[in-house]
């Protein structure tokens, strides 16, 4: 479903990803772990087309993300191509990023109406179902700023799902939350992850959550994957000393 091939990403002199290769199959749930600055978030941002690769290729569902073949030559993708691929991907951000000028319901219907062209009534019915699912049916007409961080993040999750993505990117979705609100959001995500056939790429420091939901864990260090395996193995018997040190540091905290 998602494939990275020799992906390099530089910000100025800083090489964040150094020739990254990995693949995520359809329906697979993969957690990216590793120290801050190791390039995990950059991977999600590249997939969401919020950043462009420096070199290498990213494929989504068999199609190249950054380039299109035209008259036998590879040329940089135009907005139309990006939008077609982007449609398959949804993202939930650390800072929620709910649209500040819209109420909760409008946050959930804006993109389905404007980007997918759904009739408003249909989008609203779907939005209300999703709000019900995330436990915020009574907040449909509230303004995001009046909700707690945990509630905002649950709205953001519903908003991403309203676009019915095939791949869901979760970028440290609980890092900005007060500790007592984290569990509610993680429980919700656990249910969503297990109930559907969504492909999930998740960057998190919540190791128990990673262990519960993922099929595979990738350990990053300095822009490379240094370990790749099922959570049982990575968490109980890591092969790489860096992984062991990292997990010790995180679990002790």
């Amino acid at each position: 479903m998602v494939r990275f091939e020799r992906v390099v990403k530089r910000f100025g002199d800083l090489e964040v990803l150094r020739g990254l290769d990995f693949e995520v199959r359809r329906g697979e749930r993969v957690t990216l772990i590793g120290p801050s600055g190791s390039g995990k978030t950059t991977i999600l941002r590249l997939l969401m087309t919020l950043e462009r690769v420096t070199s290498g290729t990213i494929e989504v569902d068999g199609e190249c993300l950054s380039h299109v073949r035209r008259r036998g030559r590879l040329v940089p993708a135009d907005e139309r191509h990006l939008r077609r691929i982007r449609r398959k991907i949804g993202m939930v951000f650390q800072q929620f990023n709910l649209f500040a000028n819209m109420n909760v319901l409008r946050n959930l219907t804006e993109a389905p109406v404007r980007a997918l062209g759904l009739p408003r009534e249909q989008a609203e019915a779907r939005a209300r179902e999703l709000l019900e699912m995330v436990g915020l049916a009574d907040k449909a007409l509230e303004h995001p700023s009046r909700l707690s961080g945990g509630q905002q993040q649950r709205v953001a999750i519903a908003r991403a799902l309203a676009m019915e993505p095939e791949v869901l990117l979760l970028d440290e979705v609980t890092s900005a939350l007060d500790p007592e609100l984290v569990a509610g959001v993680l429980d919700l995500l656990r249910d969503i992850a297990r109930s559907g056939d969504l492909t999930v790429l998740c960057v998190t420091h919540e190791m128990r959550f990673a262990r519960d939901v993922s099929h595979r864990v990738l350990m990053f260090d300095h822009g490379r994957i240094i370990e790749d395996g099922p959570p049982e193995q990575i968490f109980s018997d890591p092969a790489h000393p860096r992984t062991r040190a990292f997990l010790q540091a995180v679990l002790d905290a």
């Binding site: 649209f99 804006e110 404007r114």
Partner: protein
């Protein structure tokens, strides 16, 4: 030289109707133009296409670096030489509008820059078309931030509108001068005209400050 109440009452109606009408027209016309053109300039300056952003930037710098008075003279006395003729009031409205558009474009720019990056990124992640991102997400938030500053410019345009009298527009101040010239007595008409500006500007400024506080929270 005492204050002549009878004459004051005699000229008051004319000042408040004919003069005021022109001042209001010049102010509102100039402001609407300044607000609309300023937004257009701000958007053009942000364009990724240099052939749009460069000229827009140059125009803003040019207008900001020359006095309104000179701009008015050029519009009124020079343009007709090139076949462009308009009424004095229309010329004045365009002059005020273009001049203040250069300033409001900076206000809009700051407002747009103030919209958090996350809002743009969420729009990309949700695959919103680019024009929808502008009209539905960014501009509503940006304009809300700019309202107090735009309010201040509205007051500024109002107070600068008597400058149009140099191109023969007869606003409240121009009319006061004409009335004064009839009797060689300027105390009453100019005082009334000045009070009129004071009576509008002070409450307007208070309103703007209140708006600022409300939107700030």
């Amino acid at each position: 030289m005492g204050w002549d109440w009878r004459w004051t009452l005699q000229i008051l109606p004319e000042l408040l109707t004919r003069g005021l009408l022109v001042t209001v027209q010049a102010t509102l016309g100039g402001a609407v133009l300044a607000f609309a053109l300023g937004l257009l300039l701000a958007l053009l300056r942000r364009s990724r296409r240099p052939f749009l952003s460069r000229p827009a930037g140059a125009a803003v710098e040019f207008v900001r670096s020359t006095p309104l008075l000179v701009q008015l003279f050029v519009l009124y006395y020079v343009l007709p030489g090139f076949g462009v003729t308009m009424s004095a009031l229309a010329t004045g409205i365009i002059g005020l509008g273009v001049h203040y558009a250069a300033y409001t474009s900076e206000v809009y720019r700051a407002g747009i820059d103030g919209v958090p990056r996350g809002q743009w990124e969420a729009a990309v992640a949700l695959d919103l078309p680019r024009h929808r991102t502008w009209t539905d997400v960014v501009l509503p938030q940006a304009v809300r931030r700019t309202l107090p500053a735009l309010g201040n410019y509205l007051v500024a345009i109002f107070k600068e509108s008597p400058q149009l009298s140099v191109i023969t527009v007869v606003d409240v101040v121009g009319l006061a001068r004409e009335l004064g010239a009839e009797r060689f007595r300027y105390l009453e008409p100019l005082t009334v005209a000045g009070l009129f500006f004071l009576l509008v500007s002070v409450p307007a400024s208070i309103l703007v400050r209140r708006l600022e506080r409300r939107l700030g929270s």
